[in-house]
């Protein structure tokens, strides 16, 4: 009979061999899946967009996560819509999963497919994801809304920024990257009680070159919060005119160093003088 030491050795070596098999099998399955996805993508790109039966047949072979991966990796827009439409048979299931399935990654995948298919419920589902308090769901919703890129999605993002449901810089970046007219939606940000919201209002006003808000931005230059003043001064350097330079002069005497630094840059920009180099943290 084998000694305990020998039995332990056999056990450890067996685990080691099992691991080798697991690595090999996992790698094989991964490569097989990658080949299957590549073949499906190739078939899709070669199929006529109008042939719904063919699309349904190709898409029917993919799981929800694979379909989502294909959409998020990028398909031509018309094909993406056609592919998403091809799964409308699963619509009820997708809505149920996106509305609050146990697995957040399945939920994201379902929401992405629904958004690509222009489903009516998409805004409601994405808004719910934004406000879920789960960072991964909120991040995914922001990405999808930025991609939808219409007035309603811009409005949802602006409201999310105001409510602070996720990192405001990420939501602001998504609003910034959109192309739909959205400058008018900033109004609610300027009046917010929270200084961070006013800060992002001023920042976005500058980025979107929202000249209709010049007067509001000018008011924010005297905001009690230094960061808001900084953002307003920065924005004013973009949307103000040379005639408004006197407004900036007061900010050159601001008690906070970084506001002065940004005021100097904005002043230089408005008056057309060469940019002056001022460290951001002076003060």
């Amino acid at each position: 009979m084998a000694s305990p030491v020998a039995i332990t050795l056999y056990a450890v070596v067996s685990v080691w061999l099992l691991l080798l098999v697991a690595i090999a099998v996992d790698r094989y399955l991964h490569e097989r899946r990658a080949r299957r996805m590549a073949a499906a993508r190739k078939s899709l790109l070669q199929s006529p967009v109008s042939d719904a039966a063919v699309l349904r047949e190709i898409v029917g072979r993919l799981t929800l996560v694979e379909l989502d991966a294909m959409i998020s990796d990028g398909l031509p827009p018309t094909m993406e819509f056609a592919v998403a439409q091809a799964v409308t048979a699963r619509y009820a299931d997708l809505v149920r999963v996106a509305a609050g399935g146990a697995n957040i990654w399945q939920r994201i995948a379902a929401a992405r497919v629904l958004a690509a298919s222009h489903a009516e419920k998409r805004y409601e589902l994405l808004d719910r994801m934004l406000r879920s308090g789960t960072p991964a769901l909120a991040a995914a919703a922001i990405r999808i809304l930025a991609k939808i890129n219409d007035r309603r999605s811009a409005d949802l993002l602006t409201k999310a920024l105001r409510a602070g449901v996720y990192s405001r810089s990420r939501i602001a970046a998504a609003i910034d990257v959109m192309s739909v007219p959205r400058a008018d939606l900033l109004k609610t940000l300027f009046d917010a009680e929270e200084a961070q919201v006013r800060f992002w209002g001023a920042k976005l006003a500058g980025r979107l070159q929202a000249r209709q808000w010049t007067a509001r931005v000018r008011q924010l230059m005297t905001d009690p919060d230094a960061l808001v003043r900084r953002a307003a001064v920065e924005a004013f350097g973009i949307i103000g005119t040379a005639d408004d330079c006197h407004v900036l002069e007061a900010r050159l005497k601001d008690p906070v160093g970084f506001v002065r630094a940004h005021a100097a840059r904005a002043y230089a920009r408005l008056t057309g003088s060469p940019d002056i180099e001022v460290p951001a943290n002076v003060g």
Binding site: L20, R27, A280
Partner: protein, 475 residues
């Protein structure tokens, strides 16, 4: 008591102590499995959800000051700085701090990047050795070079922090070549919650010559086939994919690596900067951050990522490896000893009850138990406790036990990151069981040396000689 009985008693005691240690460390590693897998899976899924195209181009992405201290790095400084300047990130500056190099480091930087002396407004919040001159590149205004009197890596980092303009600083090594997406990867956990995430570190992979490291057609790094480098690479994979990922999940990750550590600048300043009192600054500063926030009861996170963000130089000679690892052992001992008050202290939560005990058990005490095992095994055979064949079987158990953990780490890494080609994967797995006989003895020797140096109060840096110089001598 007869001599024979005495020998049996000593051998039995030592044998049981070693077995208990082996079982305890194995259980600790096993207990990390679930959390390591969860963490790696979640990070990989989050990476798919994040919109890198927005982060990459948005002016609202948090800007970062990259600080690269350099001491006698003439061999690879140009490649390293080029890689830092070509990082794919919306806004970052690169501050190279030449810490009184005695070689051509500064000259190469001046020539390669057309540096010109300039005056740069900065705070002297952290005390450092005197600054000789600041330079800015004519070719790329994002590059600043600070030339200062030699004061060690911590002092150089502090000088860089004084010159940094942005809210986050990323401390890097000048002997490492970074991937283009290194900062995007590193800042990913910060962006959702900058008020809480105060530090991020990430996995850096190894090559004997990072600047010449080759990638295959799929962009996967070809594993350096030098066995010593491969064993170190496996060591890093175990550390980042298994241990640090699991520690991060419960927020008791106690070692941000010097090769890539992002910190919120206000935290660095509030804690008085990096300490030159320790042999290395990285572990000590991570301990200090945990101590500070846990004592104050303020929510915070220090995160370790398993994704490789660059390639660093791994020593290819035994002496260079011993020199490097002895220094690491010394600094672990220094830090654990300095922060011993946190051990089993309720005030420090998981750091006191999980992080610190891990360091004591698996790092500080490791050389002691390894030495005991080496002495006891033949002694146990001599005393008749184990037959010679059982001694060999015990060694094989430990060898394959280590290989199991290595294999599990590689499996997790491959499943969520796919960083290797199939051939490299097979090579790594075949080499893993040889770790105990070909690599561990070197590390054991280095750990013993580091422990003795610590006990003697040695604080030297012992920088290892660069590989290319070694090869140029025909070694």
């Amino acid at each position: 008591m007869s001599v024979d009985a005495m020998a049996r008693l000593i051998a039995s005691g030592g044998y049981i102590a070693c077995l208990v240690y082996l079982v305890a460390t194995t259980l600790v590693f096993l207990s990390l499995a679930h959390m390591a897998i969860q963490e790696n899976r979640e990070r990989s899924r989050q990476a798919r959800v994040e919109d890198f195209s927005i982060i990459r181009s948005s002016p609202f992405t948090i800007p970062v000051s990259v600080i690269a201290p350099a001491y006698n790095e003439a061999v690879c400084i140009s490649a390293s700085v080029r890689s830092l300047l070509s990082l794919d990130y919306p806004e970052h500056e690169v501050i190279v701090v030449n810490d009184g190099s005695t070689d051509e480091t500064l000259r190469r930087l001046i020539d390669e990047f057309e540096l010109e002396p300039c005056l740069i407004a900065h705070h002297r919040t952290l005390n450092t050795r005197s600054i000789r001159q600041a330079y800015r590149s004519r070719l790329d205004r994002r590059l600043t070079v600070i030339d200062k009197a030699n004061g060690g890596k911590a002092d150089a980092l502090n000088a860089g922090v004084n010159f940094a303009r942005f809210r986050y600083v990323c401390c890097v090594d000048a002997d490492t070549v970074y991937y283009e997406d290194a900062l995007l990867t590193g800042m990913r956990p910060v962006m959702p919650d900058p008020s809480v995430v105060v530090g991020v570190t990430s996995h850096v992979t190894l090559h004997s010559r990072p600047e010449d490291a080759e990638h295959d057609e799929d962009g996967k790094l070809r594993v350096d086939r030098h066995p010593l480098v491969t064993f170190q690479l496996l060591d890093y994979v175990r550390a980042f994919v298994w241990a640090r990922a699991a520690w991060s999940r419960s927020n008791y990750m106690l070692c941000s690596v010097g090769a890539f550590a992002i910190w919120r600048r206000d935290v660095v300043l509030a804690l008085g900067g990096f300490s030159p009192e320790f042999t290395c600054e990285d572990i000590e500063f991570t301990f200090r951050v945990h101590e500070h926030f846990r004592a104050a009861g303020v929510p915070y996170r220090v995160q370790a990522l398993a994704e490789p963000v660059g390639v660093t130089e791994g020593p290819v000679s035994v002496s260079a490896l011993v020199s490097q690892r002895a220094r690491w052992q010394r600094v672990i001992n220094e830090t654990v000893w300095h922060y011993r008050r946190m051990l089993f202290n309720r005030r420090y939560g998981a750091v006191g009850f999980l992080g610190m005990p891990y360091y004591v058990l698996a790092e500080v005490l490791a050389p002691l138990f390894q030495a005991l095992a080496i002495l006891i095994l033949p002694f146990a055979g001599f005393a008749g406790l184990l037959r010679p064949v059982e001694c060999l079987q015990m060694l094989a158990i430990v060898a394959f036990g280590c290989a199991v953990f290595t294999g599990a780490s590689v499996l997790v890494q491959d499943r969520y990151m796919r960083p290797y080609s199939t051939r490299d994967l097979a090579y790594l797995m075949m080499l893993a069981p040889w770790d105990l006989v070909l690599y561990r003895p070197i590390i054991f020797w280095a750990q013993c040396k580091g422990t003795v140096d610590f006990l003697l109060g040695d604080r030297r840096w012992n920088k290892f000689e660069r590989n290319r110089r070694v090869s140029s001598l025909g070694m």
